[in-house]
Subunit: 333 residues, 2 copies
């Protein structure tokens, strides 16, 4: 099959078709999304080697020894953490933290930038008929956005800033607004301008920062330091944390969503003196995301900047680096 | 009066006696404690200039226009944050975060390394007769240790590591053990040896780390990475955070207690992937600390390494830098 492969360099290759292990399904990928984490993997994050890609929608082709035969032919999305099923974390229902997990396209397991992929049947969720592929491919990042609500209470009306108007930031902003928060999306003048306009068209408050650095400098709206109860850091850059810590009020929470390869530095005295909580947040429940999509509460299709055929995967990554875009997808076939 | 004064350099000076403002008491300091934050102030932390010192016990000399006359002659400790009383934070009972606060010996208000100090009567707590000065002087840091319990629930039996066997670490360890946690104090071979023995004599579990750096390297007890639900960072060094993040289990909490002037750096991907909570924690309620002391649940007097007369305050700071010691006190008169 055709697949993108990373071994320090990304290339398009012909590789053997994957063979599903016991309990696994063979899935034909229909559409896959490129995520910030994929770009970080290309910079060395997680030390991954192999086929990247962890956002996909596909259809089950084969599932020989699965108890649950009806999976064949179904359109599915798949949870990316493949767990042992019997460690403490798995027993607590938190298999996403299983110590011996593999993670599709990130840790020790081939990903979805390929014609076919395998996953345990237990990881699969059927996509409802009314949800098109172009929405279903957002289930994984949407679940990650909704994870915040599983980790912390968010009272209606809570003042939330989302720092970063990229793919993840715009999903987080919509999910938290849907949960009742009063959300402001903060982006940079320049590359973020049209993304902030898109957010405005969805009824979100937005603020353009004119320069990197101090939060005090702002574009088209006032932005007071220490004025948000919750700040979500979704900039995918180490500098985002310092800015988030400037924006959050004492006793407030900074949620860190983006993973990046670089080391961050920050003034811990600010965190201590203002008793701020810094909350790491990663993958979420697919069921929650699949429940949100058909309600039209979350705009995802408008976030698709361009769809490339899988065979043009390298061009897709280049496009993502060079252009001011949101989601870039790879279509198989 | 005699006072220690910091203007980029610490010196002993004769300065005018402080004049209590309306609602304030004039207090004769009996005993004052030197804290890690005082040492950080000497390195530039908070940009403080003036008389440092925020841990003290003293007696009220004067309180002319206070409604509450009986304060005169009483032995007191004093909350260090002087607040406006009417901002949102003050109204929520969190005056410690008042935006226009001064903080005795730290921000814009003279401290207790002097013969006399002033504080609003509202900040004072009378010391019960059975609590000697040598215990009462620990109320401020003990309140800071107990603040953790006000910020997060701690189920009985929770596995807690306290990183750092210094003044604050040993107080935190005792307070959390008293609250029912299963506490391990972790220190370095060398300067920490006798402090860990002291902790052992109080029935606390201890682990000696042989080298700086990897948590895997250990001295006299096994120490598994990702094995504590809660890790309290009380090392007063930027490196402590990285170690704490290695010790805490997924979805666990790292409590940051120490303030230092340097910038810390850390791998935020670890925080995100393992969904760790980093909780800044500062000052606490004096009433809680005053309630703990008479119960003999917390050993404080044994932590006193040496008492210097106020006039030898410079020698006291030098001693603290040069020797492996715990609490150093300054006695007035």
């Amino acid at each position: 099959m055709k697949a993108l492969h990373f071994d320090g360099q990304l290339s398009l290759r012909d590789v053997p078709n994957p063979q599903p292990a016991s309990g696994e399904a063979l899935i034909r990928v229909r559409l896959a999304g490129i995520c910030g984490t994929d770009r970080q993997i290309l910079k060395g994050y997680s030390g991954f080697r192999g086929i990247p890609g962890h956002e996909f929608v596909g259809e089950v082709l084969k599932c020989d020894d699965c108890d649950d035969k009806p999976w064949i032919g179904r359109r599915v999305v798949g949870e990316i953490n493949v767990t042992c099923g019997h460690c403490d974390w798995c027993r607590r229902g938190l298999g996403r933290h299983c110590v011996s997990r593999t993670v599709m396209g990130i840790i020790g397991r081939p990903g979805a930038f390929a014609e076919f992929v395998t996953l345990p049947v237990a990881n699969l969720h059927e996509v409802p008929g009314e949800v098109p592929d172009e929405e279903a491919v957002f289930v994984e990042p949407l679940a990650a956005a909704a994870e915040i609500l599983e980790q912390m209470p968010l009272a209606p009306g809570t003042r939330v800033a989302v720092l970063g108007a990229g793919r993840l930031g715009l999903l987080v902003a919509q999910v938290l607004r849907h949960a009742g928060a009063q959300v402001t999306v903060i982006g940079r003048t320049g590359r973020s301008d049209w993304k902030l306009k898109l957010a405005q068209s969805w009824g979100l408050n937005t603020v353009r920062l004119e320069t990197a650095g101090e939060v005090g400098a702002h574009g088209d709206a006032p932005l007071q330091p220490r004025s948000f109860a919750v700040v979500v850091e979704a900039t995918s850059s180490p500098q985002g944390l310092e800015e988030a810590l400037q924006l959050v009020e004492p006793r407030g929470t900074v949620v860190m969503k983006s993973t990046f390869h670089e080391v961050a530095h920050f003034d811990t005295a600010n965190l201590v003196v203002n008793e701020i909580t810094l909350l790491g947040s990663r993958c979420g429940n697919f069921a929650t995301a699949l429940d949100l999509l058909p309600r039209d509460a979350i705009h995802v299709e408008e976030m698709i900047s361009r769809v490339f055929p899988l065979a043009e995967g390298l061009e897709a990554f280049n496009y993502l680096e060079s252009a001011s875009c949101l989601k870039v997808l790879l279509r198989n076939g």
